[in-house]
Symmetry: C2
Subunit: 100 residues, 2 copies
Amino acid sequence: MAYGNSLAALSDPTRRAVFERLRAGPATVQQIADGLPVSRPAVSQHLKTLREADLVRHEAQGTAHLYSIHTPGLRALRDWVEGFWDDALESFKLYAEDKP
Amino acid sequence: MAYGNSLAALSDPTRRAVFERLRAGPATVQQIADGLPVSRPAVSQHLKTLREADLVRHEAQGTAHLYSIHTPGLRALRDWVEGFWDDALESFKLYAEDKP
DNA sequence: GACTCTGGTAAGCTATTACTTACGGTAAGC
DNA sequence: GCTTACCGTAAGTAATAGCTTACCAGAGTC
């Protein structure tokens, strides 16, 4: 069920851009917004949904909030994709054996 | 770029249900629709977007169209998630070393 | 050849969503 | 204490998306 939230959160291009930005390392809201063609509140909203999907965590340092990648959401997504991938390969194998 | 289409296609719950149905094996549009609380045209539309994301392929057998899972879209998604996962673990390692 | 069963597509409606500007709130610097 | 910088949230809007019903097309059946 959790992978559903991850998929929904990462389906939006700009929200995915926010997430990819964090791939390079932690960043503040302002820093993320500076590298994107959207306003800072928009980034803040995206970070909220990413937080709710356990894909991101934040840590307050004074007034600045440092965001970084959080593993649980990504792990749930990874496990689901991996399991699906294995099943797909298995099905393909059966299909290939049927059609020589 | 292709993984973006996969993510967008799999973000919708009912479309993901269609995809999961195909995990068990190939099925026709009618069969898929019978197992879901939506109409047959809705399923047909979902299958179209799944097709465009290379997540599904279809094979006509008379009037019946047999749908099954297609690997390219799933592979693109898998590769992206896997790469991201590895980076996230690496970042976490660096973070853990910083904070003893 | 008409009928039936299969499926895709068009038109329309509703609900969601991603964005903006405006506001409020907290920590640091003078 | 007042200003400045950082951030989150509220309100409102425009676009998108998922669903339905209705219609159209092709392959098999009598």
